[in-house]
């Protein structure tokens, strides 16, 4: 069986049957994304290594309980990675200015290494869509959103970090999310149409 040709849901079912080759393919597909989320938040390669490994070990151990109808595998993987990395960030009490956080503006390259082209293209399209959307936000909204998403900061912490009034930060977060929602919705409609 050529595991590379299989879609995510099929591979997850095989992982649930302890097929390590299926996990290997999912790792090839999504480890870059998972590692990137961890590195963006924690900026420490050894910790990012550990968090990435743990994310895939959790997938290995819990694949039978994964329900694709409730969400995409990328959402599950990046969700537990983000939570874990923010938790490490808080425990280490890293100073906010310790390392810069930023969004990626460049669009992903749609390159295939000969594995499942359909899955790779779908991920590349999703990445491009979100990056285009984030790139349309004003800088001040992007900064506030980055602190909320990558740091797990509450409104007041964001206001303290940016030196802005609390009300201003609340408005920026709200407007950023509302605009992203509109842009992503319209892009989805264009794709669907």
């Amino acid at each position: 069986m050529d595991y590379n040709k299989l879609d995510d849901d099929t591979l997850i079912r095989l992982v649930a049957r302890s097929q390590s080759e299926a996990l290997s393919v999912l790792y090839d597909r999504y480890s870059r994304l998972v590692y990137s989320v961890a590195m963006t938040i924690i900026d420490d390669p050894s910790v990012a290594d550990e968090i990435t490994q743990d994310a895939f070990v959790r997938l290995w151990e819990n694949a039978a309980a994964f329900r694709p109808e409730l969400g995409k595998l990328t959402t599950w993987l990046t969700g537990i990675t983000r939570n874990r990395a923010i938790d490490v960030f808080r425990r280490r009490k890293i100073r906010p200015e310790g390392h810069a956080i930023s969004w990626e503006d460049a669009l992903p390259e749609e390159m295939s290494d000969g594995s499942n082209v359909e899955q790779e293209v779908e991920l590349a399209h999703r990445q491009a869509k979100v990056r285009r959307a984030v790139a349309q936000l004003p800088d001040e909204q992007r900064s506030a959103l980055a602190l909320a998403y990558f740091r797990g900061y509450a409104h007041q912490q964001i206001a303290d970090t940016l030196g802005e009034p609390l009300g201003t930060v609340k408005t920026r977060i709200r407007l950023a999310m509302q605009k992203l929602r509109e842009i992503l919705k319209s892009e989805n409609e264009i794709i669907a149409g």
Binding site: S18, S20, L23, S24, S31, R32, L33, V34, Y35, S36, V37, T40, P45, A48, D49, T52, Q53, F56, V57, R58, W60, N62, A65, T74, T75, T78, G79, I80, T81, R82, N83, R84, D87, S102, E104, P108, L123, R126, Q127, K129, V130, R131, A133, V134, L145, A148, Y149, G152, Y153, A154, Q156, I158, I173, R174, A176, M177, Q178, L180, R181, L184
Partner: protein
């Protein structure tokens, strides 16, 4: 800000997990009774979920895959005759024994604690406090006890009848003082809904008026954000 009796302005930040504690509690309470806001929240949650795709890309070191595969590759099982008699080589049997062991450990832990309380009671005439917890409308069959040690700073939470959660969520205990929630720890439950955690407080438990348990993202939240599944007055 409330808009037409909804919490629409706060939902984007709620989806990101960036609301301050008081606002998060108010929104959580509103969401429990408002299908319209729940639908709106879902839309913002989808936006939040996609944001991970906008991080700068960094390739993991090649050696990382080998480390992962070494961790997950099944090793040939070596079972003792006792394990074979117990059916240990069968995954289902292992789960049953694991659940039974967990329950036994919890029972022994509570028994030891109660024995210790009894010892202290006899020695100091100090009675332990045992607080009964009840499930909410979401978990009507769930029950629990929160046993506070004689020192007043340590205790044990034992729950039963809570549904096991997926890997991205855990239960979180909150100690409630004048409306403020302090985390008492996060925990998961066994397949049979059984769970227990030791709880240590920085101040005596008698300053708290109540405890509550909510469903939170794995690892816990700074303040309650999910549904309340159990609670009790201290």
């Amino acid at each position: 800000m409330t808009t037409d009796n909804h919490e629409l302005d706060l939902l984007p930040a709620y989806a990101l997990g960036s609301l301050d504690e008081a606002d998060a509690q108010r929104v959580a309470g509103h969401l429990a009774a408002c299908p319209h806001c729940r639908a709106e929240l879902l839309a913002f949650q989808q936006v939040s979920d996609e944001l991970a795709l906008a991080v700068p890309q960094v390739a993991p070191p090649p050696v990382l895959k080998k480390k992962l595969m070494d961790r997950v590759r099944p090793r040939p099982a070596q079972f003792s005759w006792v394990q074979r008699v117990l059916g240990w080589q069968r995954p289902r049997a292992r789960q049953v024994w694991a659940s039974a062991s967990l329950a036994l450990i919890a029972i022994l832990a509570v028994s030891n604690l109660l024995l210790w309380f009894r010892f202290n009671e006899l020695k100091n005439q100090t009675l332990p406090q045992v607080v009964a917890l009840q499930g909410t409308h979401l978990t009507p069959g769930a029950t629990g006890v929160f046993v506070i040690g004689a020192d007043g700073y340590s205790g044990t939470l034992v729950v039963n009848g809570l549904s096991p959660l997926d890997e991205t969520h855990q239960y979180q205990l909150w100690l409630i003082q004048d409306g403020r929630r302090t985390s008492g720890g996060v925990f998961s439950v066994s397949e049979k809904g059984y769970g227990t955690i030791p709880v240590v407080s920085g101040q005596p438990f008698d300053v708290y008026q109540a405890v509550g348990i909510t469903i939170e993202p794995a690892g816990g939240s700074p303040g309650p954000t999910g549904d309340k599944v159990m609670g009790g007055d201290l």
